[in-house]
């Protein structure tokens, strides 16, 4: 199964396993972004925005093997 390629942007990296800004997530099949975050023990509220294959998606969107996912930290607001 091709892994999902995950990139994390900004300061919430420290709440991801291994504090990695790029990693691969293996799922048996399609999985929602929310469930992927749950599997990583990351509170979805920490993620402000998600891009999947360059397109903004809600956290309820389903991911397919091989997808490129970009998870954004909330900016610190000035």
């Amino acid at each position: 199964m091709e892994p999902i390629k995950v990139s994390v942007r900004g300061h919430v990296i420290k709440y991801f396993p291994g504090e990695q800004e790029r990693f691969e997530f293996v799922s048996e099949g399609p999985i929602s972004i929310l469930d992927m975050l749950k599997a990583l023990s990351v509170d979805p509220l920490l993620i402000m925005m998600v891009n999947v294959n360059g397109v903004k998606q809600p956290k309820t969107a389903m991911l397919q093997p091989g997808d490129d996912v970009l998870l954004f930290s909330p900016p610190a607001g000035g």
Binding site: V8, R9, L45, L46, M48, N51, F72, P75, G78
Partner: protein, 615 residues
């Protein structure tokens, strides 16, 4: 001295004299620059008990040792003075392009003292220093004054100005630069106004001595490349900080109706996407910044056609949510009015929201304001009141002293919803269900400002009901973030892109030749944190724990609706947070640093002043 310009400029406005003296080595060695220089020079030079608006108060301006060097975000500048808002320590930071210019003119600090006998501006062209008349600028807006000075002096001059609010000593008057960037907080614009100082114009042509020029260039290039390679780099710029608006609503922390609640149902009409879609013209960056967070916008209506930098998140929160102005065009217009008047948009939106709630509750009556109204959601009322405040007319004169002082005048329970700490209005995060963020606001040395410690994601990540570990994290952040203000670097590359902190000791070594670890640098920041606390202890009678509490609203009123409905932070929780914070800091139960703590952080010289304050 590598990394430094090597000089301090002192200007006395009363005598119209100036002097240039070498930067003392021990000041650089022990306090780095920027906020560190400001704090130490304030302690040494402003006499205890000085009137913030008297000749003995000083405006102290300092770039840092990394300012003006080729690395990401090397263009921040620190302003400091005894604050008319807090009565104690005050500083504020601005980006743009003026900080490197001061360095290139040859200065690591500018100390402005005395009071001019007529409106003046300070002209600095390398070592050619003049105090020039500014009668023609007095009364003009901050943006207009910058335009006029640029027309007169040329684009190569960098300008900092005040608006009418500063001239009229409004306690939340800001200093404006680069057509829309402000040193906004703690009322230093009012201190400039009290000195009859309308503006500072700077041009410099000198160079900065570097310990290792080749290593500096190489390291700077590597740092830029590392920024560009960060995931999400390209996505960061379009909305800038305005992009956080929806998220803050999602977590129920968006200041709404004078912090009555934490969720604004119309937030999508004032968010980053609305800004991009409706008003943004282009991005705007500070000196040497690869991630331009500034958004230059235009709003054209029948009544006006304005350009404004922003609104950025804080302005959206305090104008949009807090006074319920529910469309991005009106937020931008109100932003422009505040910028031109020279009012801090955080305090401005907070004070207007407070006044609107007073009107709603009948504390301010229609007859108090010439028969008009002051309603949440009305941009006309917002603009009208802002002008009354800036010119200290009618009720505006009461509100010009900020919500703490206004509530003392209005009474009738208004002090419970005067949302401030230490006399400085609360910025853009409702924190009744965010203990680390609440503690950040309570203990910030300049009053209720988020930039010392922004801990709300830490609250979300570690549990918003949990108190364990919150004080520790707040202290860590209170050392990391203000360290950027000592080096005078922008912290957003780290905060927003996750740019690694390890880079900074490396470039620091290339620039200054000093081999320090990141932890060594943090020790300087802890020293300054204890010094600013000591400064407020020295200056404010009875200063201590009672000044660290949030407003009663946050301790007594549950949030009525939204994702955080029902949440509030009772006083016993606040006390637990404070107890732990003081203990970890080495401060006593009243928030006074112990003798041992002062010694540990290299502030032995403060002890004789602080000792009598301990019970």
């Amino acid at each position: 001295m590598n990394g430094y310009a090597g000089n301090i400029l002192r200007v006395n406005l009363t005598n119209r004299t100036h002097s240039i003296t070498p930067l003392p080595q021990d000041l650089a060695d022990n306090f780095l620059g920027g906020r560190g220089f400001v704090a130490k020079l304030m302690w040494d030079e402003i006499p205890p008990g000085a009137d913030p608006f008297g000749p003995e108060n000083k405006v102290i301006i300092s770039p840092g040792p990394l300012t003006g060097v080729f690395l990401p975000g090397a263009g921040k500048l620190e302003f400091g003075a005894k604050s008319p808002a807090t009565g104690g320590y005050g500083d504020s930071n601005v980006g743009g392009h003026i900080s490197p210019e001061i360095k290139y003119a040859g200065f690591d600090a500018i100390i402005i003292e005395g009071i001019a006998d007529e409106p003046v501006y300070l002209f600095i062209d390398d070592f050619n220093i003049e105090i020039r008349p500014a009668a023609e600028l007095w009364g003009k807006g901050a943006l207009e004054s910058e335009t006029l000075l640029k027309q007169d002096l040329g684009d190569e001059f960098q300008i900092a100005t005040i608006g009418p609010a500063g001239e009229n000593k409004v306690l939340f008057a800001c200093i404006s630069h680069d057509f829309g960037r402000q040193a906004g907080r703690t009322g230093i614009g009012a201190v400039m106004g009290s000195k009859n100082l309308k503006a500072i114009a700077v041009h410099g042509t000198k160079t900065i001595q570097l310990a290792d020029p080749v290593a500096t260039l190489e390291k700077g290039k590597e740092m830029f490349a590392a920024c560009f390679e960060k995931p999400g780099f390209e996505e960061w710029t379009p909305q800038g900080t305005a992009g956080v608006t929806d998220w803050v609503n999602e977590i129920g922390a968006f200041p709404t109706r004078n912090f009555q609640t934490g969720y604004f149902p119309k937030h999508k009409d004032i968010n980053g996407e609305a800004l991009m879609r409706k008003i943004k013209v282009t991005d705007k960056a500070c000196y040497s910044c690869p991630i331009p967070c500034g958004k230059y916008s235009r709003v054209k209506k029948a009544e006006y056609d304005i350009h404004v930098e922003g609104p950025e998140y804080e302005t959206i929160a305090l104008i949009g949510g807090n006074t319920e102005i529910d469309n991005i065009e009106d937020c931008a217009y109100a932003n422009y009015i505040l910028d031109e008047l020279g009012l801090d948009s955080i305090s401005g939106g907070n004070v207007v929201g407070f006044a609107m709630e007073c009107f709603e509750k009948g504390i301010i009556k229609s007859e108090d304001i010439s028969g008009r109204s002051l309603k949440f959601g009305s941009v006309e009322d917002f603009v009208w009141l802002s002008q009354e405040i800036a010119y200290r007319r009618g009720i505006g004169s009461v509100l010009a002293d900020g919500v703490r002082e206004a509530a003392k005048v209005f009474g009738q329970g208004s002090e419970k919803f005067a949302i401030h700490v230490k006399g400085v209005e609360w910025s853009g995060y409702e924190a009744r269900y965010a203990p680390a963020m609440m503690l950040s606001y309570m203990t910030a040395d300049v009053g209720a400002h988020h930039n010392r410690s922004w801990a709300i994601t830490f609250d979300v990540a570690t549990g918003r009901d949990k108190l364990e570990g919150k004080a520790q994290r707040v202290i860590e952040l209170q050392h990391i973030r203000p360290l950027f203000d000592m080096l005078c670097l922008c912290r957003l590359q780290w905060v927003e892109l996750g740019f690694e902190l390890d880079w900074y000791p490396q470039i620091f070594k290339a620039v200054t030749g000093k081999e320090l670890t990141w932890d060594d640098l943090l020790a300087f920041s802890e020293r300054v944190w204890n010094l600013t606390r000591s400064y407020s202890l020295r200056e404010i009678e009875g200063f201590g724990r009672s000044f660290d509490y949030p407003p009663a609203r946050f301790m007594e009123e549950p949030i009525p609706d939204g994702p955080t409905a029902g949440k509030y932070m009772p006083k016993e929780v606040i006390d637990r947070l404070l107890d732990e914070y003081y203990k970890l800091r080495g401060w006593d139960n009243n928030g006074i640093p112990s003798a041992a703590q002062l010694k540990k952080v290299g502030l032995g010289f403060v002890e004789s002043t602080i000792a009598p304050l301990r019970k």
